[in-house]
C-alpha cells in the first residue's frame, strides 16, 4: 500500500500507470509478472535492494528506464525514512577526512555503526563529498577557525541538496545509521603556514586528494621571514666579529666564570681585562642590545598559533 500512496501523489505520471496501480490497490498480489532479465539488469545498474527493484518494475510494467527514474526519486525519501528508523542506534565507527589547500584546511568526522561500512567504498565516497561541501561552505564564509557540530552541518547546502540529504541517501543504500558528527576549519594567513597529519588504522587512504583515516590533526604555524633574519645576523657578524658559532643551548656556567674573572683582584699595573665574547650565540645582538643572538633567534623561530585534532568515535561527553 505504501507503493500506491506515493505514486498517487505524482499526478503527472499517473496515466500510463493507473492500470497497474489500480490492480495493486484492489488486489494484494501483483498481477504484473516482473521480467527476470529486466530485474537483473535494473538491480545491477542501480544497486537498490532487490525487493524495491521488483516493486518498481511491477509498477511500470517492466519498463527499466521509468522504474529507475522513479526509484532514484524515491531514494531520497526512503533514505530519510530509514534514517529515522535507525537514528537511535549507537555509532562507534566511522572515518575522519582532511582536505587541505594552500589557504585553508577542513576536517570532518562521519560516523557509522560497523567498521565494515567504514571500509566500504560507497561510505568513503560520501565522506569525501561531505568534506568537499563543508570546505566550500567554510571558505565562502569569513571564519578563521571553526568547529561545527551536527545540527548546523546538516543544513549546509551542497549542489541543490543539503548535507543531511546526502547522508540520508547513503543510509538508505547501506542500511546502517550514519551521521556527520562534526567539522573543523582552519584558515591560513599571509605569514602563517598550515600543515596536517592523518592516521589511518591500516594503509594510508586518499581519495580525490582528500585523506581519510581514524585520526586527523591540523596545525597553524607562524613562520618567520628567514631571509630578513639571515641578513640581520650577517650584519651582526660583520659588526661584532665572532670567531666561532658556540653552543645552541645556553651554558649556565659561563656567567659565573666571567663574574669570577671580573672579581679577581686585579693588579693595578695591568690594564683591566675586558672579556670579549667570541661565540656568536652568546654575543649581544647588534640590532637589539637587550638580547643575545641566541635569544633573538629563539624568539623568532616558528610558533604554534592554533591546532585542531579530530579522533573518530571520540567521547565528547555528549548525550
Amino acid at each position: 500500500m505504501f507503493v500506491c500512496n506515493s505514486v498517487m501523489v505524482r499526478w503527472g505520471r499517473l496515466t500510463p500507470v493507473i492500470r497497474s496501480v489500480r490492480r495493486l490497490c484492489t488486489q494484494p498480489e501483483q498481477e504484473v509478472i516482473v521480467d527476470k532479465a529486466a530485474l537483473s539488469k535494473l538491480r545491477k545498474k542501480t544497486g537498490f535492494p532487490m525487493m524495491k527493484c521488483k516493486n518498481a518494475l511491477a509498477q511500470f510494467n517492466n519498463d527499466i528506464k521509468e522504474a529507475e527514474k522513479w526509484m532514484r526519486e524515491m531514494a531520497q525519501k526512503e533514505g530519510w525514512e530509514k534514517a529515522g528508523k535507525l537514528q537511535n542506534r549507537p555509532m562507534s565507527q566511522g572515518l575522519v577526512a582532511l582536505l587541505e589547500v594552500k589557504s585553508s584546511c577542513t576536517l570532518v568526522e562521519v560516523n557509522c555503526e560497523t567498521d565494515f561500512v567504514a571500509r566500504n567504498e560507497g561510505f568513503q565516497e560520501l565522506v569525501v563529498k561531505l568534506a568537499q561541501a563543508c570546505h566550500k561552505n567554510f571558505t565562502n564564509g569569513d571564519l578563521q577557525k571553526a568547529v561545527v557540530a551536527k545540527e548546523e552541518l546538516n543544513s549546509l547546502p551542497a549542489d541543490g541538496k543539503t548535507l543531511g540529504d546526502l547522508v540520508a541517501l547513503t543510509v538508505g543504500n547501506l542500511g546502517e545509521n550514519i551521521a556527520l558528527r562534526r567539522a573543523a576549519f582552519l584558515r591560513n594567513d599571509q605569514d602563517t603556514v598550515i600543515s596536517h597529519f592523518v592516521h589511518a588504522a591500516g594503509p594510508a587512504m586518499t581519495k580525490d586528494g582528500i585523506k581519510l583515516g581514524k585520526f586527523a590533526a591540523a596545525v597553524k604555524l607562524l613562520v618567520p621571514n628567514t631571509e630578513a633574519i639571515a641578513q640581520e645576523v650577517c650584519q651582526h657578524i660583520v659588526g661584532i666579529n665572532p670567531k666561532e658559532i658556540g653552543n645552541w643551548s645556553a651554558p649556565v656556567q659561563d656567567k659565573k666564570e666571567s663574574k669570577k674573572k671580573k672579581q679577581d683582584p686585579g693588579v693595578e699595573d695591568q690594564p683591566k681585562e675586558v672579556y670579549v665574547e667570541k661565540r656568536l650565540f652568546d654575543q649581544e645582538f647588534l640590532l637589539d642590545s637587550h638580547k643575545t643572538v641566541r635569544e633573538y633567534l629563539q624568539s623568532n623561530g616558528p610558533q604554534v598559533v592554533d591546532f585542531v585534532r579530530l579522533e573518530c568515535g571520540e567521547d565528547l561527553g555528549e548525550e
Binding site: 527476470k36 538491480r43 560497523t114 547501506l174 592516521h199 594503509p203
Partner: protein, 483 residues
C-alpha cells in the same frame, strides 16, 4: 600421557604439561595423577562454558569453529537461534534451544586482557561439535583470531533475499579472506517472502561476488530459507528443513584441519634432564608426527642446529618403541649436552623445519584500559617477545606507509628476533614492556634476515685487556693505597 585424548579437551594446556614424568618416584607419579583427576572432574562440569582449547576431538567427535558474517539486519542472530532450535529437536540431550532474546548481542569478553565483542554459542550435530561465534565488527573478528584459542574453520555468510547483497558484503568477504577462511557456506535468509526468480538472482549475485574474492563460486553451497519461519516452527520448505539442510551442509563442506599424524615429526622441548651415564633427555609433548627409537633428528633453536639420534623413548618411566602426536615423552638424544638445550627449542625431523629470525605477524596494540600503552608505537620498536615456551628481544618493523600504531588498532608487521628460532604459522605471542603492549599471531615465516643491529642481534667486540706483570702489580698497589 595417561589421560585419554578426549579429556585433554577440557583442560588448560599449562595445567597438564608442567609435571615432569621421567624422574618421579612411584609415589609422586600417583600424587600428580590423582591431583589431575580432581581437576578433570571439576572441569567436566564447566564444559558447556569452557572453550575447547587443546584437542580437536571432543567425546570422539570432531570439533569445528564457525562464525556468521553479514549485515546487521539480515538475520544472523535469528539464524543462530534457529540452528540451536533445530538441533535441540533432533538431539535434546546434548543441544539446548537458545532463543533470540537470550543471545546477548552486545556481550563483551576479556581474553588475555583484551576486550572483544563476541557472542559464542555451542551445539552438536551428528558428526561434529561446533563453537559458533558472531562478532559485530571487523576489528572484533581480528581480535578473536589473535587471542582465540583455536582458529575459525569456516563461516556462514548470511544475505537477506529482500535486499540481496549489500555494498558492505564485499567487506565481509574481504574479512573472511583476511582471517584465512578457505570455505564459506551461504544462507539466503527471508526466502519465504520473495519468489523463486528473486532467489535465483540473489544467488547469482552472491556467486559473482564469491568469484571476485577468490572463493569457489561453483561449488560453494547456497541454501535458501527463513530463520524466522524456523523459529515459528514452520515445517515448510523454507522453514526447519532449510536450517537442517544448512547444518548438514556445514558438516560436509567445511573442512577441519586434522592434527596430522602423517606430518613430519615436531616436538617442542619443555625441559631437559641429565641422566648420569646415559645422556640428556628432552621432555615435551609431540605436536606432529611419529617417532621411533633410532630415528635421526635435529634440535633447532636459539641460532643452534644440532644433529642427533634417538636412543630411547620413555612415557611414564617406561620405554616405548614408538610415539605419536599428542603424547608427552622423554627423548634420550645422542650427543646432546644439557648446556646445548634450552626450553623453547624444537626437535624435528631433519630438514623439515628451518630456523628463521624474521616473520610476518598480525598484531593488536592494547588500549590503555586493557593495560596497554597510551602513546603510539613507532617503527623499530624493540621489546621482549613472549611465546609459550621462550622469550627473546624482538624488533617490530612496520610495512611501508605506516608511520605508527595507535593503541586499539591492529596492523600487519614484520618482526625481527635477536636469535633465530623455529616459528610456525598460527603461533601466538605477546610483546611486553611492563605489561602486555602487543598481542599477535604469526601469519607467515619469512627467510632469515640479514639485518644486523648493534646491541640487538650484534654485539660490539669487547677489547680484552690482558694485564701484563708489571702494570698489574702497580695497579694493585694503588688500589690498596686508596683503601
Amino acid at each position: 600421557m595417561a589421560a585419554p585424548l578426549r579429556t585433554v579437551a577440557f583442560l588448560n594446556v599449562k595445567k597438564i604439561i608442567n609435571f615432569p614424568c621421567l624422574t618421579l618416584t612411584k609415589r609422586r607419579i600417583c600424587g600428580t595423577n590423582i591431583a589431575n583427576l580432581n581437576i578433570l572432574k571439576r572441569r567436566r562440569t564447566l564444559f558447556s562454558q569452557v572453550e575447547v582449547l587443546y584437542s580437536t576431538t571432543v567425546d570422539g567427535k570432531e570439533h569445528c569453529n564457525i562464525g556468521t558474517i553479514g549485515h546487521v539486519d539480515h538475520g544472523k542472530t535469528s539464524l543462530t537461534a534457529a540452528i540451536t532450535k533445530v538441533l535441540a529437536e533432533t538431539n535434546p540431550k546434548i543441544n539446548k534451544f537458545i532463543d533470540y532474546s537470550s543471545i546477548d548481542r552486545s556481550s563483551e569478553e576479556q581474553r588475555r586482557g583484551i576486550t572483544i565483542f563476541a557472542t559464542h554459542v555451542s551445539y552438536e550435530t551428528e558428526k561434529r561439535h561446533y563453537c559458533h561465534t558472531d562478532c559485530p565488527g571487523h576489528l572484533d573478528f581480528i581480535k578473536n583470531m589473535i587471542t582465540g584459542a583455536a582458529q575459525m574453520d569456516g563461516a556462514i555468510l548470511v544475505v537477506a533475499a529482500t535486499d540481496g547483497t549489500m555494498p558492505q558484503t564485499r567487506e565481509h568477504l574481504l574479512l573472511a579472506r583476511q582471517i584465512g577462511l578457505e570455505r564459506v557456506v551461504v544462507f539466503i535468509n527471508k526466502a519465504d517472502i520473495v519468489d523463486q526468480e528473486m532467489l535465483e538472482l540473489v544467488e547469482l549475485e552472491i556467486r559473482d561476488l564469491l568469484e571476485e574474492f577468490g572463493y569457489d563460486s561453483i561449488n560453494t553451497p547456497v541454501i535458501c530459507g527463513s530463520a524466522l519461519a524456523t523459529l515459528n516452527g514452520d515445517e515448510g520448505k523454507y522453514g526447519k528443513p532449510s536450517v537442517r539442510k544448512l547444518t548438514e551442509t556445514v558438516d560436509s563442506y567445511i573442512k577441519v584441519p586434522k592434527r596430522n599424524v602423517d606430518a613430519p615429526f615436531k616436538m617442542p622441548v619443555e625441559s631437559a634432564l641429565s641422566v648420569p651415564g646415559r645422556g640428556t633427555v628432552l621432555i615435551g609433548t609431540i605436536s606432529e608426527g611419529k617417532v621411533k627409537t633410532g630415528d635421526a633428528m635435529e634440535l633447532l633453536g636459539f641460532d643452534k642446529k644440532i644433529q642427533t639420534n634417538i636412543i630411547d623413548l620413555q612415557v611414564f618411566k617406561k620405554s616405548v618403541p614408538e610415539c605419536k602426536a599428542g603424547e608427552n615423552v622423554g627423548v634420550l638424544a645422542r650427543g646432546v649436552k644439557t648446556d646445548d638445550v634450552r626450553r623453547g627449542m624444537f626437535l624435528v625431523k631433519p630438514n623439515s623445519k628451518k630456523l628463521t629470525n624474521y616473520f610476518e605477524a598480525q598484531v593488536y596494540a592494547l588500549k590503555p584500559t586493557e593495560g596497554g600503552r597510551t602513546k603510539p608505537i613507532l617503527n623499530n620498536y624493540m621489546q621482549p617477545m613472549f611465546m609459550s615456551l621462550w622469550n627473546l628481544e624482538a624488533c617490530v618493523q612496520f610495512h611501508a606507509n605506516t608511520p605508527m600504531i595507535m593503541p586499539g588498532e591492529t596492523q600487519k608487521v614484520n618482526i625481527l628476533l635477536s636469535k633465530s628460532m623455529v616459528v610456525t604459522e598460527g603461533d601466538k605471542f605477546t610483546i611486553r614492556e611492563n605489561t602486555t603492549v602487543l598481542s599477535g599471531i604469526i601469519t607467515q615465516a619469512l627467510p632469515m634476515s640479514e639485518q644486523s643491529i648493534v646491541g640487538f642481534n650484534k654485539l660490539r667486540p669487547i677489547q680484552m685487556k690482558i694485564a701484563s706483570g708489571n702494570s698489574a702489580v702497580i695497579a694493585k698497589r694503588e688500589k690498596n693505597k686508596k683503601k
